[in-house]
Amino acid sequence: MAVQLHQWTAALYLVACLVAWLGLGLRARWLERAAVGVLAAGALVHLAAFSQLHNLNPPPPLTDLPAAVSFMACAGVFFFLALMLWLRLAGLAALVAPLAFLSTFFAATQLPDAPVASFGGSGSLPHLHVLLAGTGLAFLGVSGLAGSLFLLEHHRLKTKQPVRLPLPSLEALDRVNRVSLLAGFPLLTLGVVTGMMWVENVQGSLWSGTQHQTFSAIAWAVYAVLVTLRFGSSQGARQAAASAVGGFALLFFAVIGVEMLA
């Protein structure tokens, strides 16, 4: 049932993605709104899929990569929908929906015979680590997507090209960036801390020396610098957007890419 619901979620995200693209292409606002509606429906089914996962006996650990990726997608979509209540961001659905689809599709194909996590451990720390780091990563992911749209629009306005796609305003995209960083970085930090505590529980030391931990620490340090620059100095919106895109790419590689390569 959980896998089926994941498949339904993936299908809804795919529909949302196609409708959002069509809305952008045809410059039809109603299609953009419809895409957000389908995305919201997908998010609800996604939530149901997670509740079904907990009903499995034994429940698959959230620390498994497919489950973790699926959780990140769900958190990212809900975060985007929450931002939609505040800002006119329908155009951003054209990037959020495909990423949500790919993540959920990956999870739907991998969940039945998901490998167990390479790390052992018991108690709530492993799940807490995934919940915090996953939510943080999802928020920073939304920031990265908003950043990429910002750079696109900034370039168009600077070079005085005609409007091709009805994208959100630069100010809205910059606000997404700020809010995502403000919420995402503390969550990511807590995720890193709980991860280290989990490692200590299992191995007796805070540092395991695995690629995952090494790259995650590097990514966190880079993000710490970016956040300091954003809120501590007069960094412009364009640099902040570029940082968000670069930072998320690095973080994605550190957390997901390294796991996949391993």
Binding site: K158, P162, S169, E171, D174, R238
Partner: protein, 447 residues
């Protein structure tokens, strides 16, 4: 019935002439026109860009003469007949229908795609309806025109992008800022175009406005008009730090805003974006300002170029809109042509009803029926007649929408002997049920 349209617009006449023909209150001329024998229905349409009379008539030539005379006497006043004739245009039937649909859809407007024309068309029709000069045919034509205009706006992108420089500036500002309620505008100098842009920005919620000018009196005058505060040019560096939208149009050989000055302001703004619209000629802002990261600088050429691109888009969309207009014109034309079938269908139904009643009454004299049975038989005969006539009358209506449909109408008149006077008199119809060779009309007797 024929439709004829006589008019003068921005395409055919200069403004001075259109001004002289403009009508503030269309009711008196329309009431006069409605009293004319040649005119069955009329609508007068008068805006700053056009004066048009559209009328329905049964006598085209007489109506044409009447409308021309009416234009010359009632609307043109002292204008010479030759001068008037030179600028008038006339459309008849299909062309007149198309013209009305194009006007309502803003395809014939000076600024193609402008939205006001639909409201003006509705008002013109409303006024005609109120003074009783409009009838069912023009009513249908104008309803069709409103529906067409709605289709054009929803199915094409004809009005999607602004084409005036002021509106383009606002559209660009909306791509940068999410809302204007917490933004500040700085107006440097004065000029019609930036005042228009500022007015449009105010329409989107911009309230905090500061005006800077070389002459304090002029600054104060502008400030009072926009509910803004007036400042001298020496306050510019400080004002620039808090300005989100800067509109400049000030005289002078040297730029008022240099890259250095704007750069300083940006540092104080902590990277918040600034939209600068420079309408001054020569330019008031150094082009290098656009190289600064958070500044979006558009000069008059940039704005005009965007407006030109949008105009091009409208032209492309206008071609799609013309196809919609043509489709709707054909639909209306079909409806109008189908009206030809109405007398034949009406006649056919009357004949059928006469026969039904006659046969029913004859039968009642021979058969003894109580009230309930009588009602039942009457309902039965009525249902049979209706069912029999349903297919031919529907087909006649459909066929009448085409030019070839006349043959069907003729055939129906011959087959049902609708033009035979004798057949309309009781007991004298040649195909009376009593004489039917196959006994179709003898049902009640057998029952």
């Amino acid at each position: 019935m024929r439709i004829v349209l006589l008019g003068m617009s921005h395409r055919s006449a200069p403004l001075e002439l259109r001004e002289r023909l403009a009508v503030d209150d269309p009711a008196p001329p329309l009431q006069k026109l409605a009293r004319c024998e040649e005119i069955d229905e009329a609508v007068l349409f008068s805006t700053c860009n056009r004066v048009e009379l559209v009328a329905v008539t049964r006598s085209l030539e007489a109506a044409r003469l009447r409308l021309r005379a009416f234009f010359a006497r009632e609307l043109a006043g002292e204008l010479e007949a030759d001068e008037l004739e030179e600028h008038l245009y006339e459309h008849v039937d299909g062309d007149a229908m198309r013209h009305v649909l194009r006007v309502a859809s803003s395809l014939d407007s000076m600024v193609v795609g402008e939205p006001q024309i639909l409201g003006q068309t509705k008002e013109a029709y409303q006024r005609a309806a109120e003074c009783g000069s409009s009838g069912p045919l023009l009513g249908r034509l104008f309803q069709n025109a409103f529906a067409t205009a709605k289709r054009v706006r929803s199915e094409t992108r004809i009005a999607e992008r602004p084409i005036s420089v002021a509106r383009v500036a606002v559209e660009l500002a909306r791509q940068i800022f999410e809302d204007f309620s917490d933004k500040q505008a700085l107006l440097i100098g004065a000029g019609e175009m930036i005042e228009l842009a500022l007015e449009a920005l105010r329409g989107h919620g911009l309230e905090a406005i500061r005006v800077v000018n070389r002459t304090p009196e002029r600054a104060a005058e502008l400030a009072s008009r926009f509910g803004a505060t007036a400042h001298g040019l020496d306050e510019l560096p400080a004002l620039l730090r808090s300005a989100d939208v800067v509109l400049t149009s000030i005289g002078g050989d040297r730029p008022v805003l240099t890259a250095e000055r704007v750069g300083e302001a940006l540092r104080a703004r902590r990277g918040r974006p600034m939209f600068v619209i420079d309408i001054g000629v020569p330019r008031n802002v150094e082009p290098e300002v656009n190289g600064l990261d958070s500044v979006y600088l558009y000069d008059i050429d940039d704005l005009a170029s965007v407006a030109q691109e949008n105009q091009e888009l409208r032209r492309r969309e206008a071609a799609r809109a013309e196809a919609i207009v043509e489709e709707e014109r054909q639909r209306f034309d079909g409806w109008l042509t189908a009206l030809r079938a109405v007398p034949t269908i009406k006649h056919l139904r009357e004949r059928a009803e006469q026969i039904r009643l006659r046969e029913f009454e004859q039968s009642l004299r021979r058969i003894d029926l109580d009230e309930r049975q009588r009602e039942g038989v009457e309902a039965l005969t009525r249902a049979i007649v209706n069912k029999l006539l349903h297919a031919p009358t529907s087909r006649l209506r459909q066929e009448a929408e085409r030019e070839e449909g006349m043959a069907y109408l003729e055939a129906a008149r011959v087959l049902f002997a609708l033009d035979d006077e004798a057949s309309d008199r009781p007991g004298e119809e040649p195909d009376s049920g009593d004489q039917s060779p196959d006994g179709d009309g003898e049902g009640p007797e057998r029952g």
